[in-house]
């Protein structure tokens, strides 16, 4: 099949999930159109996201089926990134670090779960000299890597050039297509009635001399959790609060908690300029795992990826494209039926 000759598929939502699905469908011959109110815009969760790809990370505790999906998507990332060009795909890995004795006790549970060898403070500072002398212990997680979500979306938009339409869909019946894929993040709730809620995250972007940090730092500092994601150009993404709220306010408490934990772990960030303060909303489902599958004969949902939207983009694209083009549902999808909440 050549592009355009297959079924007419409308994708509602031009975030990283919608674009990844559309690009996969296009590649496999479908006649794809993406509908998004601001196709050049930056109001998706992807724009705020740091882009940590951590298949073995915290989410693994929550839901064993999710672990399988995260790992399967992690395996797809190298070739997914390779096809898109420079998207900041960086395999330096993550140092998980803990400041106080309580932080160590807290983190040790995850290190054990992931079977990571514990490193002393001095071993950590050997790998990452900018870490505070106060950091007590940590672990190296080579499989927790990073990508730049803004570059990924830019590359996907390029692939889909001419197929992304500036249009706000308020009712799915407005769309003429053979199949409609709803991948509208938090907006999926009003379009489908599915239980997806916004989980607010405040994220800062700092900028300074490149090279202060080599690894992603994922740390606990006096009970405050923070990740520091260093880009090659000197940017350091500092995230993220996790708040059950829908507003877009940058708050004194949110920024304080992020900066305090960041500076407790890496004091040298104090001189970095704050270049961006952003708020995003993760689309969360009742069990915080995504909703993937048929809503009815002609409607497929791919939403509710919560904190894992970037990591899960490749596997979501593949499985949803299979579903749309062949009608067959991969066994991996079983646990994620959109109707599972009743």
């Amino acid at each position: 099949m050549t592009a355009g000759s297959g079924p007419r598929v409308a994708v509602v939502g031009g975030g990283i999930i919608g674009l990844a699905i559309a690009a996969e469908l296009l590649d496999r011959g479908a006649d794809v159109t993406v509908h998004d109110p601001s196709p050049e815009g930056s109001d998706g969760a992807w724009h705020v996201a740091a882009g940590m790809l951590a298949p073995g990370g915290e989410s693994a505790f929550e839901y064993p089926y999710l672990t399988r999906l995260l790992e399967a998507s992690g395996e797809l990332w190298p070739s997914f990134a390779g096809r898109l060009g420079d998207v900041g795909y960086d395999e330096a890995g993550t140092l998980s670090v803990a400041l106080t004795a309580d932080d160590v006790a807290d983190c040790a549970r995850e290190w054990k779960h992931q079977k990571l060898a514990r490193l002393s403070g001095s071993q950590l500072r050997e790998r990452e000299p900018a870490l505070s002398p106060r950091v007590r212990a940590g672990a190296f997680a080579p499989s927790e890597i990073q990508v730049d979500p803004r570059k990924v979306v830019g590359a996907l938009r390029h692939v889909l050039k001419g197929r992304i339409i500036a249009r706000q869909i308020s009712d799915l019946s407005e769309i003429e297509s053979d199949v409609t894929v709803v991948a509208a993040g938090c907006g999926t709730a009003t379009l489908t009635g599915l239980p997806i809620r916004p989980v607010k995250g405040q994220v800062l972007r700092l900028r300074g001399e490149p090279g202060l940090l080599r690894h992603v730092i994922h740390g606990a500092a006096d009970g405050r959790h923070v990740y520091l994601v260093p880009r090659a150009d000197g940017e350091v993404v500092v995230g993220a609060t996790q708040e059950e709220r829908a507003d877009r306010q940058i708050t004194a408490g949110g920024v304080h908690d992020l900066l305090r934990a960041a500076l407790d772990l890496v004091p040298g960030l104090a001189e970095h300029e704050i270049t961006e303060w952003t708020v995003g909303h993760r689309p969360g489902s009742p069990d915080n795992a995504p909703l993937l599958g048929h809503l009815d004969d002609r409607t497929v949902v791919a939403a509710g990826h919560h904190r894992n939207g970037i990591l899960l983009a490749p596997i979501t694209a593949r499985l949803i494209a299979d579903l749309v083009l062949t009608g067959s549902a991969d066994p991996l999808l079983e646990a994620f039926a959109p109707g599972r909440f009743g």
Copy 2:
């Protein structure tokens, strides 16, 4: 004398000092023109300043002549504000508070100098219930009051309507006037060669429900100094760093220090939105006191007000107008001769 019939006076600089001088000169019959590169702009120190009027405050230690000038200007403020209309002039006063035992020791020196009665933590929380239970001691400074510098500048611009010209002066010889007053803040250095340096300050503006705070809070929290200036509309100005730098960067360390001290003293600010992050530069002289007086027969300087520009605007306006219109220098000016460093 009616406005416009007196001497032609050019004022270089449309900040609060330049405008206050120009308004006083206009009122007393001079033919005044203010030159400023952006007469509608907001890049002056006044735009960032919180507007604390603290004649007995910290500066009093530095320079006894300055104390007299600060007090004299403080006495002029009620009538100066009264003529301008609503400029947020608020006499609720300041609570000076200290968090730790070390902070108390640090602040006690100033309380003693100002002859302020020491208040216990519970006495402070009776006056200001939002203060943290961790606040140990403090004092009430009824003479440290506030005004909104943005409203002051707005009102002065209105008074001087039609007399403010959008013009960047790069050499004083460009100006045709009988007398030129240089009140260009940090820009005075390049225009006159006088030793005025920028002292960077980072300031945040928060917004929440009005009424959380009644007084200005001036506090020390674990060695970090902060002031919190609540406006009637729910804005709370949080300032300020004091850095010997000329850049305009908002830094991770600067914002952290402000927020940490603010939240240590008033935990309820955590839910406030951060609505503005600004950087300003105080014009500092070698002794941090202003430069006020003749530079030559036809040139007068009024600059280098450092942290006291808002408080000193009324007295500066009066004394400089005297100097320009009558040629007589008030004895108060003696200690502030522009040439005293040469």
